[in-house]
Symmetry: C2
Subunit: 304 residues, 2 copies
């Protein structure tokens, strides 16, 4: 079997999601699910995560559809992590209704031997101590990206700082960047985040795209592909990061020109993902669809 090019750790959840127009129960979610599916269009991706003995076999089939390596997927006695949320009318804001950690509560990630030498590593949004645990198990990665959220900034700042100090790139959204640095403006928050260690800080702005800040001082701004009907924004950031890291792993190159293209492909992958619930839309498309939309996008942003 060919070597794994990218390892992704994150949550695997059974979600119940309510939007202004639809409610779906028991669908596959979690940062690792979205990120691995997105990455799989570009690179051989190995998943690290945990599910309970109740994890439906059709979701395993779905992972297999994407060709996701599940050697690092642990199954533990008990129920799979579950999350339930409801979106506001604007489809941007949401409220969490319920979170059941279940088997995730005592998750201790253990990387299989085939993952240890992996060149690209994405630490999806889970507790920073678990992210650090995974980071410490890989031998010498070429490029590592870490995602996080307001919860960990609030309750586990020290562990988060420890992870951030060791990775190549940190990604978070604008409000999290403000929370983490106490700086209102992005142009002040970004240097404060870079000072924590990473060479790059990638700020996600949802429907407004993303901004890359480099320790060299370079800034790259890219809009989002305009999606007509966003049916479920859950996992958009995970798909974005998964697509980005998958593209980097496929190119096996981390120069800034490649990073810019990786961000474009991350955004394009996410733009498909939000068109349907869970992984339903990603399941329908292939790499050629991503390339087609990327071509359309390039024309949309070109300044002649």
């Amino acid at each position: 079997m060919p070597d794994i090019q990218l390892v992704i750790v994150g949550s695997i959840g059974i979600d119940t999601i309510e939007t202004p127009t639809e409610k779906r129960e028991g669908i596959l979610g979690g940062s690792a699910s979205y990120a691995c599916a997105a990455a799989s269009f570009f690179a051989r991706t190995g998943m690290v995560g945990v599910v309970g003995t109740d994890f439906p076999s059709n979701y395993v089939d779905l992972y297999n559809h994407f060709g996701i390596c599940q050697e690092g997927l642990q199954t533990e006695e008990g129920k799979t992590f579950s999350w339930s949320g409801v979106y506001h009318e604007n489809m941007d804001d949401r409220d969490t209704l319920d979170t059941q950690l279940n088997v995730f509560e005592h998750f201790a990630p253990k990387l299989p031997a085939s993952y240890i030498d992996v060149p690209y590593l994405f630490l999806g949004n889970i507790h920073p101590s678990l992210q650090l645990d995974v980071l410490n198990q890989v031998s010498n990665p070429t490029f590592t990206l870490v995602d996080t959220m307001d919860l960990w900034i609030n309750i586990s700042r020290e562990e988060l700082d420890a992870v951030v100090a060791k990775v190549d790139m940190l990604t978070l959204n604008e409000s999290e960047a403000r929370l983490y640095t106490d700086q209102h403006h992005l142009l002040d928050a970004a240097p404060a985040l870079l000072a924590k260690g990473p060479r790059y800080v990638l700020i996600k702005r949802g429907a407004h795209g993303s901004v890359l800040f480099s320790s060299s001082g370079d800034i790259f701004i890219i809009p989002a592909f305009p999606v007509r009907h966003v049916n479920d924004p859950t996992g958009a950031g995970d798909s974005y990061a998964g697509g980005l890291m998958g593209y980097l792993a496929q190119q096996d190159d981390i120069r800034e020109d490649t990073l810019r293209n990786a961000m474009m492909y991350g955004g394009i992958t996410a733009s498909f993902g939000v068109e349907k619930f869970s992984l339903e839309r990603l399941k329908e498309i292939n790499r050629a669809d991503l390339d087609d939309r990327a071509d359309t996008f390039r024309k949309m942003v070109d300044i002649p």
Copy 2:
């Protein structure tokens, strides 16, 4: 004297503006002031507007500094229009504290003979019946842009429709586009706006840039230049539109490639404008400063 390349009609006001950090009284404002100053970096610009006999001579000097033709600037007995507003902590939202129409109440724009054959016309944000009045006085413009606001959409929709039906481009912000069309999503609102007549609809998204929708179906998305210290966002949309129209008038070309560059220059001009109150920052810069920042911006958005 060389021919006027661009005519701009709009308000001229004496503003009192309060931001979270500073309060300034009696400063020069109004859509025509911002738009004409911005346009003057690119093209010979003629102003259409009205001031009272109290209008300070140093503001006339300021218009002269920018080389703005004031042949279409009427002076009427009474006080100049004044506006007072206060910005919220986020510097995006603001509340109007006071509006005194004064001489603006009975303003009847009368274009001087030298303006009649002007090829480029910007109808800045004033009552649509005044915009229509100006539009009907020019002979055969190459390209006309109209700006508007929620107030006119709410109270003068029919007059606004009449103007919009006759121009080449309509510009407004996202919430105004929703209000005007009753469509929540931009991708639904834009076709509804194009159906009113213009060939282009330009949606302003403030710090997130702007989007151009063409009746051909083309979409152009451009981010905003990231400004570290926004000290006064007043007039940003007017500077943007003024810079855009000035660039078009200078190029005397309205192909979409040129429009895209015009939007970039509009955004760059506005990015300087918001760095200080009133026209203070625009007064300090020249065309070379705009070109330098445009070069920086191009590098920031380039996808290699």
